[in-house]
Symmetry: C2
Subunit: 447 residues, 2 copies
């Protein structure tokens, strides 16, 4: 009888865990630098919370069940509904803007595919209560820094940005009705994943003219056709002018995007940006600027996605409150760090190993371990008496920086221990009193 | 429409989260000091894993359900089955002793009672592959240090220790059969929670003589009757001698307990110990030394429980492997820290807030924020331009240690910013070049 983990769930042995902790430590550091406070919520919530945010379709992808109190519940597939629920519960008592982060484990019952997991850890940063585009820029800066902190640079990843208000304003300008806009978003969302002819057919169905479609196609190509965000913005503005799209709504959205790029440029992050009108991020929920981070080679799935969702708090029963945020998973990030040789060394390390030469010095070994540990050092010793050579081998395998050799001749003679530097092999004798204090050393070193 | 969390699940707002992180940081530090490596496993496992360890009774207390692949699964109620499964999977390839820790969130569908939660975070330390009592002592030392690290002392909590092998040997000596021992363990497990007469009746049923029962009663009282572990051990040895219990099996168990106390004494931890033969820790699973940590006043539930479980790895399909470990939850510990005034300050803090005096210095503000954050500092700024007074107020509310005031007169005149120490109110002017370097400062300070 051998038990196995469920498909799609990871066992994290210490070497795996060291990588996850490295990632979580980096994320925590970025959240700290940007002045975000950490929150957390339940990994199990009422099913209706997720349905209220994402519609009934979500249920098919959830770990949902009826609990023993007859409640319909689900393991969280994302953190935002919990965040929104918690913010709604506190109402106006929260200092604004709310700048919170969380690092939850999330669960989806996805169809099992190679390398596709059913759980992952996700870094979430959200800003609530701020409508200004400066908050959008701050959020993307934080997302970019959440990769930069691991040593990734603009050669390694890009941020593809768009604004749903911009695309929406253009579509309305092109004669689409408000009710047709979501259908077009659905087309654009799949732009790079379906044949162009299919996309164009659907745009025709949505009532967009051939001229309009030509213009949209040109807009969707801007990222491919121009190398930098500045060139892309210029080309886009020129296109808007040429196509005569610049009604007040489109102009406002273009100006907002220019401001967004301006702030990120002042942050020194322009090299990471790409204007990409194909970025929509699903059908509902998002209301403004949206972005996705990808590896520069385009080999991996998105590393991070986010944007503005100004309607969610209202949808979940709160007073209207602008909001924006992103989620960044650990799986794709770890893969990218591995590719770039940026994963940390996961070999164990130890500050000190104490070698016990004979049974009669045990109290010294224990007192020394106690003292060093109380000083904050990581300390190991053998549980049972073994040869000095064997203990030194163990110290080496555990990555000990120092070894203290506690032997009866030194202890009961000169009241000293031998300290060995494991990197250099040099040894020196140290008085027990300097390690433990005069009183304890004197007591322990007396037979 | 307002959504709520499920009963028994906590929402952790930043102030709550700061407390949990304080506790987790302390636990991590202790694990590090004792040379334990971190692992983690899935919060969802096959139901049969928990049944294999704890029997069918456990199912009534679990969040269990049938997943979309028709698997019987359960949210983990404890970490040890996952640990054992992972160790079994690696077989003999793991370096021994295995010294691993984890800090999982655990779930139980408990009947809803005041203050009774259905989830908590638990610190787990386990040692596998070491049968010697030195490992038991090391584990308890680590458990004690896991409270000491928060400032708790021997006036605040105690460790009640026993050994199931010791009690079992006495019972066998008193004429109980092997098959009666579990029934007596069940009686002893409830010793302090049921009337003495009930316990005695059950001992009679189990075939223990009146003399035997008198002796057992005296053994159970030792902790009350004697103040220190040394006095308790002496009294217990005297009782064993007086009752003529000292056959080879009992003697071996007593010697082991003496050795256990001796090691912990050398670690300087004797003041925390109490010999308590009523500690059994449930009916199955544990096989040797067991312990529980309680607040000294006895007002709270157990803070921590653990012991030796030498049969589990075999039960779950591995080769025989001695093992021991403990679990320490966050809820009772936080309650005790609160009672003792040992909780951390949870007010927000910030290294620096940057005050922007006018629109034309924005690029300086952003470049300065970038620089300070890249240096690892936590930095805030207002998203939209506001009066200097309002920004200083925000800086103060956020607990900023320093404020940088970036104004056009200083920037475009002397190329300086004003740095204010928020604790003392003192201000000084600093050259922008010293903060950002000559090139960037020169560029940004030019209109």
């Amino acid at each position: 009888m051998k038990f196995q983990s469920l498909p799609g769930f990871r066992d994290s042995y210490p070497a795996d865990m060291a990588i996850r902790q490295h990632i979580i430590t980096g994320w925590n550091a970025v959240a700290h630098r940007y002045g975000f406070e950490q929150y957390d919520g339940p990994p199990l919530e009422s099913l209706e919370l997720y349905v209220a945010k994402s519609g009934e379709e979500i249920v098919g992808q959830l770990y949902n069940f009826t609990d023993k109190g007859s409640r319909e519940v689900a393991m969280r597939p994302e953190m935002t509904p919990t965040l929104a629920r918690m913010v709604v519960a506190k109402g106006s008592s929260l200092r604004r803007p709310v700048k919170w982060f969380a690092i939850p484990q999330l669960f989806r019952y996805e169809r099992q595919q190679k390398g596709r997991l059913r759980e992952h850890w996700q870094f979430n940063m959200d800003i609530l209560g701020e409508a200004d585009v400066a908050a959008d820029a701050e959020l993307l800066a934080a997302a970019i820094d959440s990769l930069r902190i691991f040593g990734l640079e603009s050669a390694d990843f890009i941020a593809r940005v768009s604004d749903r208000r911009l695309l929406s304003a253009i579509l309305l300008h092109l004669g689409a009705s408000e009710s047709q806009v979501p259908a077009v978003f659905a087309v654009v969302d799949k732009w790079e994943r379906q044949p162009l002819a299919v996309s164009i057919d659907k745009l025709v169905t949505a009532g967009i003219s051939q001229t309009g479609i030509d213009g949209l196609q040109a807009a969707m190509r801007i990222r491919q056709d121009h190398p930098t965000i500045h060139a892309q913005m210029q080309a886009f503005e020129a296109l808007c002018a040429a196509e005569k799209w610049l009604d007040p709504a489109v102009t406002e959205a273009v100006d907002r995007m220019k401001r967004y790029v301006e702030i990120l440029d002042a942050y020194g992050l322009a090299a990471y940006l790409q204007l990409d009108l194909t970025i929509v991020r699903g059908l509902a929920y998002y209301t403004g600027i949206v972005f996705e981070l990808f590896d520069a080679k385009g080999e991996l799935r998105a590393i991070c996605g986010g944007g503005r969702y100004d309607k969610l708090i209202e949808t979940l029963g709160g007073d209207p409150m602008p909001a924006l945020g992103f989620g960044m998973g650990d799986v794709v990030l770890a893969e990218l760090l591995k590719q770039r040789g940026l994963l940390p060394d996961t070999k164990p390390t130890l500050d000190a190993y104490i070698v016990q030469v004979s049974a009669d010095v045990e109290t010294v070994v224990l007192a020394l371990a106690r003292k060093l540990r109380d000083d904050g050092l990581s300390v190991e010793r053998a549980f049972t008496l073994a040869g000095v050579g064997k203990q030194l081998k163990a110290a080496s395998a555990l990555g000990a920086a120092k070894v203290y050799i506690v032997g009866p001749d030194e202890i009961f003679g000169s009241q000293q221990v031998v300290e060995r530097d494991m990197a250099t092999g040099t040894e020196q004798r140290i008085s027990l009193a300097s390690l433990l204090g005069d009183a304890l050393a004197g007591k322990l070193a007396t037979r």
